[in-house]
Symmetry: C2
Subunit: 234 residues, 2 copies
DNA sequence: GCACGCCTGAATGGATCCAACAAAGGTATA
DNA sequence: TATACCTTTGTTGGATCCATTCAGGCGTGC
């Protein structure tokens, strides 16, 4: 019994790491994790291999693993990687043409975004809803790119902390500023769809690349604290 | 005893798959693989998780794995992914400037390539040597991109069959044609270095993207058989 | 006093055992 | 005869056990 459902060890361990329970650079042992999660060593060993492939862990010498540390530069780089990959996806999409059903789907999520932002300000509950809308839009784009390869590459990249498209840091203290950010994101979504409809592959690609930065650079511009991962207390 | 060294199960299994021992789409069982490799189920299970992350295996329903199948379109897509990622790497490199030691290293491998191709034709032993030179050049570029994130993404992408930069198919029957291909590749290497020295990020990126296609599209142009993976006998 | 080597302990990797679940086939009933 | 349920079997996931290896400490010899 217990809540040991299959891959739940992986996600629980991932959460432990991102919560800072295991510090970046720390050696991470099978026995301790197994005890902490209340499971045997076997699923932990399996999870370690998976998380190593995901990039959250790295081999510590010949023996064991350690939690990988990511600098702010790494996070920026991961965001750029997502940008070029999603850019590739939309360029291919523009080149092969946008079919009606996908146009409809994208329009649907754009309409949802419009409705969410229509009231002119942002409330705290809207944050999660925007996350869903944004995720669905991106997912639809990537899924339609013609091959699962791009989606896989993006998915693997998204395992890195703060790299995923839906990991925009929302400062609930400054919903006003966040609202302007989401307005910008929404505009970029609409521009991408516009470019796709016109078959403008290069433009769509560049828009998507720029769009990736919205969670990072735009934050800096607005004077917020840049993301830092390693060893910061909250 | 036996030759069961650590990750060797992974590479042996990878080889079994790429050799067509297990057909794409086939369900792959732990017991059979374990017996075939002469090891217990445990390392096989670990290898399955790793290969799943690498994209060679996929979950078959709720239970077990199956060998993933790649279409020609997927291979093309993986090559394009490598192109945009390596393009990103060199653009970042151009933007932050090329330091002397890297310039020296890249020049070294370019010189090696020049020497290899200087005699005006290609011999069979040169194929492997070109592979090494090419690999070193690409590796040096990616390693210098400022963050391991890009390199990781490329490495993961390279696990897909025929996606790696050093998996140019060399037709030893037509070394003359292959020679012209490698001349082109060498020229592209030199152009990239030129662009890097001038800080021309966009140009370097586009050159690198185009360079990625040299193993595929150029093959088609020359009338060779396009790569096909699934179920073809050799 | 320093260095080399041995010994001990701990942690990981591999093998085996047990349980749970899914798929398939057979039988009974409507 | 067809369908539904039950049984049986095979495969996978989890737990435990054994061997191997790496690291650290201590002792002895030079």
């Amino acid at each position: 019994m217990s809540s040991s459902g299959g891959d739940s060890v992986i996600s629980r361990l991932r959460k432990l790491i991102s919560d800072g329970e295991y510090q970046p650079g720390d050696r991470i042992g099978e026995v301790r994790v197994a005890q902490q999660l209340g499971v045997s060593r076997t699923p932990v060993r399996l999870a370690f291999r998976t998380l190593e492939q995901e990039g959250l862990l790295e081999r510590a010498g010949k023996r064991g693993f350690r939690v990988r540390e990511f600098s702010a530069a790494d996070v920026l780089c991961a965001v750029e990687v997502r940008g070029v990959l999603e850019g590739l996806a939309v360029r291919r999409l523009a080149e092969r043409g946008l079919d009606d059903s996908l146009d409809e789907l994208l329009s649907f999520w754009i309409q949802k975004g419009r409705e969410l932002l229509a009231k002119g300000h942002l409330e705290e509950v809207d944050v999660g809803r925007w996350g869903d809308i944004n995720h669905s839009f991106h997912e639809a784009l990537v899924a339609a790119a013609g091959s699962p390869v791009i989606g896989d590459a993006i998915a693997r990249n998204n395992h890195l902390p703060f790299a995923a498209a839906d990991s925009i840091i929302i400062d609930t203290e400054a919903l006003d500023r966040e609202y302007r950010k989401l307005l910008q994101a929404q505009l970029q979504h609409e521009l991408v769809l516009q470019a796709l409809r016109c078959g403008e592959g290069a433009r769509a690609e560049m828009l998507m690349r720029e769009h990736a930065f919205i969670g990072l650079r735009y934050v800096d511009l607005l004077g917020m604290e840049p993301v830092s991962l390693s060893g910061t207390d909250e």
